[in-house]
Structure formats: structure tokens, C-alpha cells
């Protein structure tokens, strides 16, 4: 118990340190401007905050639409028990994305201009609008947790009625903005290295979001089962592992086909600054997880599955950072490395994510397993048979 206590204290100390450093950087950011806080400059107008906080943040929050889609649209009922934590992750992911944006935008106080000065040609406009609407959708998907906590039966019934619509809308919006994050880069073909610039970029961004949505769900279920000491739904994550295996193969084959089609496959094996990064990306995102997941033993072992999903996540994070930064370094002629303060703000945002997840799990019925929920619901009279399965 004492060991447990010490452990908890360590994480708390770390959290406090990260927050203090992050708040200092926040102070610098809003008092002295972007130049003082970051290593971004006219040659590298986009840095870590766009590359990681935005591109990766949105990708890692993709579990929300994958799992709700599987459960409510395709009626894969077995996945019910992980819907709530995935929606929570997605909701927090998008909220923190917006927080990240408030740091990155030069004039964050005009962020609402997005809603009144509309440029339909702009991919950025599309991404912004979809993210805005989807965050609202996620809020509505998440809100039953809060309502349930306070036994507000009326509104729950209302939300449940529109739940299928919300889920459909969520998938539609996610398809659009997950892929459009890739389209953002289509407008500068001249700047990017051939390894990463492909007309199929939106397609790959969408597929990698699905892979990461699955990997993130495995990662987070395993992690929270350890932290919160709750039983792990083995069969569920095994199934997700299988799905991840298939999705990774699809992406890998399409990547190969894309490289063949654009005739850059020979360069991949030539050592160069870019190819080192590409190798790192491909190893983490494909070689390791595909090798591991091909064994049934791995797919049924939660520890190994955890490692495989972690590798996938790191791989696709590397991929997005490569797209956003590495691919442009040769064009620009020098390297970009985020500054200490830039990193500290990113760390602060991540720490906030863990903190909020923890709080939500403590105070809201996130991990109510299906049986418990099935019993609870009639007790608070949400009644009606087809509905009871909706918001578990």
C-alpha cells in the first residue's frame, strides 16, 4: 500500500512539475508572443504544435468514431463495454486539440472568425468546421455520463433518441476532417519530400486514423485496467487486435503500391536523412506490430498486445511528424527542433488529458460494465427495450 502511495505521489509530483513549467511557458507565450516561446520562424511557420498537438491529437482521438460506428451502426454489440471510455478519450482529445490551437494560433482571440468569414476553398476551413461540430457531437455523446451521475432521466432519454443520428454524424464528420488533415499538405507539393507527398495523402491520413483509433483503444483499455484495477475485457481487445492487424496490412499494401506507382521505391533503401526517418516510421508502424500481431499468442496476451499497439501509435505519430516537419527540411535548407518551452506546453496539454481522464473515471460512470449498467438502467427507469443498449 505504501509502495502504491509512493507511486501515486511520484506521478503527482511529475504532474505538478509539468504543470508549473507549462504554465511558465504559457505566460511567456501570451506575454511575449510566438517568437519568444517557440523555434518556429518564417521558414518553419508550423512546428511541434501543429505536428503533434493537432495532427497527432486528432488521430489519437479517432477511437471515438471507430468504436461508436462499430457498435451503433454495425451493431457489433460485443464492443459495448468500451464505448464510454473511448468516447471520453475522443472528447478529451478534441478539447485538448482546441486548447493546443489557442496556443498555436497567432490571434487566438479571433478564432471565431472561422464561423463568419467562410472560405469554402480552404481545407483549413473544412477541418476547423468539422472539428468544431464534431466536438459538439462528442459532447452530446459524452453527456449521458454526467446526466446519469445525477440521475437526470428526462434528458438522457432525449439524448438516447438522437444517439444514432449523432453517431452517423460523428462518422461523417470524422471521415471528412481526418482525411482533410492530410489534404492540408496537398497544396505544397514542391516543398515536401517524395516519401511523404502523395495525392493519396488524405486517404492515408484517414486510414491511419482508423489504425490509431483501434490501437489507442487497446492501449487505453489495458492501461486503465491496470491503473483503475478493473477487469480487462480480454475477448474485446483480442478482437480489436485482429482488426488492427487487418487495417495495418491494408495500409502497408497501399503504401507499397503508392511508392511503386510514384516510382520512389528505390530511394527508400538509399540511406539519406529522410530515409532514416522513414525507416523509423515504417518499422514502428508496420514491421513490429504486423510481426507481433501475426501470432495468435500475441493477440490473446494483453501485455504483448499492449506493446504492439504502443508501437503502432508511435509509428503513426512519427509518420505525422515526418509529414509535417521532416519532409520539408530539405526544401527549407535547415532543421527544425522544437524549443524547450514549446515541448513543455505540449507536455502540459498531455498531462491535462491524463488528469481529466482520471477525474472523469473517478466521478462519472465511465467503466460501468454492461451487466451492471443493464441492471442500473431499469432502476432509474430509462425503460424501453431497444434503448437500453444504446448508451452503455
Amino acid at each position: 500500500m505504501t509502495i502504491m502511495n509512493v507511486k501515486v505521489t511520484f506521478w503527482r509530483v511529475l504532474f505538478v512539475v509539468i504543470m508549473i513549467v507549462g504554465l511558465y511557458s504559457t505566460y511567456v507565450r501570451y506575454l511575449h508572443g510566438l517568437g519568444a516561446v517557440s523555434n518556429m520562424n518564417d521558414q518553419f511557420p508550423w512546428g511541434l504544435w501543429i505536428g503533434f498537438d493537432c495532427l497527432c491529437g486528432i488521430m489519437l482521438a479517432a477511437g471515438g468514431f471507430c468504436i461508436t460506428g462499430a457498435v451503433y451502426i454495425f451493431h457489433v454489440e460485443r464492443l459495448h463495454c468500451i464505448v464510454r471510455p473511448t468516447i471520453l478519450t475522443a472528447f478529451l482529445g478534441y478539447l485538448l486539440f482546441i486548447v493546443g490551437l489557442l496556443f498555436d494560433l497567432g490571434r487566438p482571440w479571433f478564432i471565431w472568425h472561422q464561423m463568419i468569414y467562410i472560405n469554402l476553398h480552404s481545407v483549413m476551413f473544412e477541418v476547423g468546421t468539422c472539428v468544431m461540430v464534431y466536438t459538439t457531437v462528442l459532447l452530446l455523446e459524452f453527456v449521458p455520463n454526467v446526466l446519469e451521475r445525477f440521475n437526470l432521466v428526462g434528458p438522457i432519454r432525449w439524448v438516447k433518441k438522437i444517439y444514432p443520428v449523432l453517431v452517423c454524424l460523428g462518422i461523417l464528420l470524422s471521415t471528412l476532417h481526418q482525411s482533410s488533415l492530410g489534404s492540408l499538405f496537398l497544396i505544397f507539393p514542391e516543398k515536401m519530400h517524395a516519401f511523404w507527398y502523395t495525392p493519396a495523402l488524405p486517404f492515408f491520413f484517414f486510414l491511419s486514423a482508423i489504425a490509431c483509433g483501434l490501437a489507442m483503444t487497446i492501449f487505453e483499455s489495458t492501461l486503465s485496467s491496470r491503473v483503475f484495477g478493473r477487469g480487462l475485457e480480454r475477448s474485446v481487445i483480442t478482437e480489436l487486435g485482429g482488426a488492427l492487424y487487418v487495417v495495418l496490412w491494408v495500409i502497408a499494401l497501399l503504401r507499397v503500391q503508392d511508392y511503386m506507382h510514384r516510382k520512389v521505391y528505390m530511394d527508400i533503401f538509399k540511406p539519406s536523412y529522410e530515409s532514416y526517418f522513414l525507416w523509423a516510421e515504417l518499422t514502428l508502424a508496420f514491421v513490429i506490430p504486423l510481426f507481433m500481431l501475426s501470432f495468435k499468442k500475441v493477440r490473446t496476451n494483453s501485455n504483448l498486445l499492449y506493446i504492439a499497439s504502443l508501437s503502432t501509435l508511435l509509428g503513426f505519430v512519427t509518420n505525422r511528424l515526418n509529414v509535417a516537419m521532416t519532409s520539408m527540411e530539405t526544401w527549407v535548407g535547415h532543421h527544425y527542433l522544437p524549443s524547450f518551452t514549446e515541448v513543455s506546453i505540449t507536455l502540459m496539454i498531455c498531462a491535462m488529458g491524463f488528469f481529466l481522464f482520471n477525474m472523469a473515471v473517478r466521478f462519472l460512470p465511465i467503466f460501468e460494465d454492461e451487466h451492471a449498467a443493464a441492471h442500473v438502467e431499469p432502476a432509474i427507469q430509462i425503460g424501453e427495450v431497444p434503448q437500453h443498449s444504446l448508451v452503455n
Binding site: 501570451y30 506575454l31 511575449h32 508572443g33 510566438l34 517568437g35 519568444a36 518556429m40 520562424n41 518564417d42 521558414q43 511557420p45 508550423w46 460506428g69 451503433y72 451502426i73 454495425f74 451493431h75 498555436d104 494560433l105 497567432g106 490571434r107 487566438p108 479571433f110 478564432i111 472568425h113 472561422q114 468569414y117 467562410i118 472560405n119 469554402l120 476553398h121 480552404s122 481545407v123 483549413m124 476551413f125 473544412e126 476547423g128 444514432p164 453517431v167 452517423c168 462518422i171 461523417l172 471521415t175 471528412l176 482525411s179 482533410s180 489534404s183 492540408l184 496537398l186 497544396i187 505544397f188 507539393p189 514542391e190 516543398k191 495525392p199 488524405p202 427495450v385 431497444p386
Partner: protein
């Protein structure tokens, strides 16, 4: 009639009068220190580069299909009928997508400011709409920077190369690059030696087309994908309902 600028490096003497006039026109500081700076920044919209005895002027190309304008989520950039690509600071949210999108890296940012603006050459829109030449063209003592009707300038540039093929690289930079630009450049030595993007690298396709291809799919894609999702939901839901009813009936029959 759309206007343009023709800069002929072979006529340039590197006096930097255009830089100074530009600074004055845009109320930017200009002294010897600024004059010595060879990179464009938030306080230097145009710069005259020197390589041995050759010169090259860099400024916003004022593209016919500006990537910056297409990229901006709030439409802070637009190309006027006269030719200049101008910037409405009051719309800008500071996402810096314009800076990423521009193939010529022209938009620069006020990194040190708290309410930063994007800054670049805007081709003196007030002067141009009043029928005057840009400040830089007016200041140029040799006619290296020439302001005029876009079409006439193209014809003139072609003619100059034809008259003196030995003096020029056989290329009008900006005639076809990224779908054509209002600013045309002529030079005696390859343009990339001055940091301009390689001709084959930028290509002749208007950059907004690359994103446009995807964005144009949206009006078809959204209803279609929505319909598919709704359809799948309807089918699976129906199947579930039928199963439930069947199970119930079975149970009832079993009860009898």
C-alpha cells in the same frame, strides 16, 4: 485590365531604391542596417539579392491563382481585379497556413508581436487602383522594375529575350509557374541561384488545384457517405429488431 510588374535583372544596378521606396510606402523602418539584410522579413517585403555582379529582386509574385488566398480559412487574402493579392488583417486568425502554402515563401510573420500580422508585398493596391505605378517601379532609376499591363509586359519580356538571347536565361519566371503570376522575372543566370524555387519543382499547375481536386469531391461525398451510413444503420437495426421479435414469438410459442 490586369496589371503586373516586370523585373529585368540585366538592367538592375543593385541600388536598392525599390527597397527604400517600398519601406516608405508601407511605413516600414529603412536604414543601412535594413538595406544590408538579404532575407525578406516582416519589415522587409522586397529585397535585392546580389551574386557577383548579378542581381535579383524578390517580392510576392502576385499569383493568378494565389495559394495563400485559397489556403486561408477565413479568406484574409484575395486577388483584386487589378492584379495585387491583398491581405485583410482584421480577418486573420494567425494559423499561418498561407505561409506554408506559398511556393515562394512570401508571407512573413510578426513573430515578436502579441497580435501578429502576416506581412508581404501587396503591390501598392491603392496606387494601382488610382492608376499609378507601384512605389518600387516609380523609384527604379533604370527601368529594371517596370510596371504596366500584364499582357503587354509578357509581350515585352518575350521580345527582350528574342532580341538578346545571349543576355538571358530563356525563361520568363512567372509566365507559367504555378499557373502564372502577375510579377515576371528575367535573369541572365539561373533563377534558383537566388533561392527561387526550381522551375521543374514548382511546375505550371495552379497550386489551389491540388487541394481543389479533393475539395470538389465534398458535395458528392457528403450526401453519399451519409446515405450509406444511414442505410447500414437501418439494415442492422432492422435485423436486430426482427431477431428480437422472433425471439419473443418463440418464447411465447414455447410458453403455450
Amino acid at each position: 485590365m490586369s496589371k503586373g510588374i516586370l523585373y529585368d535583372a540585366t538592367l538592375c544596378i543593385g541600388c536598392k531604391q525599390c527597397e527604400s521606396a517600398c519601406a516608405q510606402q508601407n511605413e516600414l523602418p529603412y536604414d543601412e542596417k535594413v538595406a544590408a539584410e538579404s532575407v525578406q522579413t516582416d519589415h522587409k517585403f522586397t529585397t535585392v539579392l546580389t551574386k557577383d555582379d548579378k542581381f535579383m529582386r524578390r517580392l510576392c509574385q502576385h499569383c493568378e491563382h494565389p495559394a495563400c488566398a485559397s489556403a486561408c480559412p477565413v479568406g484574409a487574402f484575395h486577388k483584386t481585379a487589378d492584379g495585387p493579392v491583398v491581405y485583410d488583417v482584421w480577418k486573420c486568425i494567425g494559423c499561418r497556413y498561407c505561409m506554408m502554402a506559398c511556393a515562394f515563401s512570401q508571407p512573413k510573420y510578426e513573430w515578436g508581436k502579441l497580435n501578429p500580422r502576416v506581412r508581404k508585398c501587396i503591390m501598392c493596391p491603392d496606387r494601382v487602383s488610382a492608376g499609378k505605378a507601384t512605389a518600387c517601379a516609380e523609384a527604379c532609376p533604370t527601368g529594371a522594375t517596370k510596371f504596366g499591363d500584364h499582357d503587354a509586359l509578357i509581350a515585352e519580356a518575350k521580345d527582350r529575350i528574342k532580341q538578346n538571347p545571349a543576355n538571358y536565361v530563356d525563361h520568363i519566371y512567372g509566365l507559367n509557374e504555378v499557373g502564372g503570376t502577375s510579377v515576371l522575372l528575367l535573369s541572365a543566370i539561373p533563377f534558383e541561384q537566388f533561392g527561387l524555387p526550381k522551375i521543374d519543382r514548382v511546375g505550371d499547375v495552379a497550386l489551389p488545384e491540388y487541394t481543389g481536386r479533393v475539395m470538389n469531391l465534398m458535395p458528392d461525398f457528403i450526401p453519399l457517405w451519409g446515405l450509406v451510413l444511414g442505410g447500414v444503420y437501418w439494415v442492422t437495426n432492422r435485423r436486430k429488431e426482427v431477431e428480437e421479435v422472433e425471439a419473443e414469438e418463440k418464447a411465447m410459442r414455447g410458453g403455450k
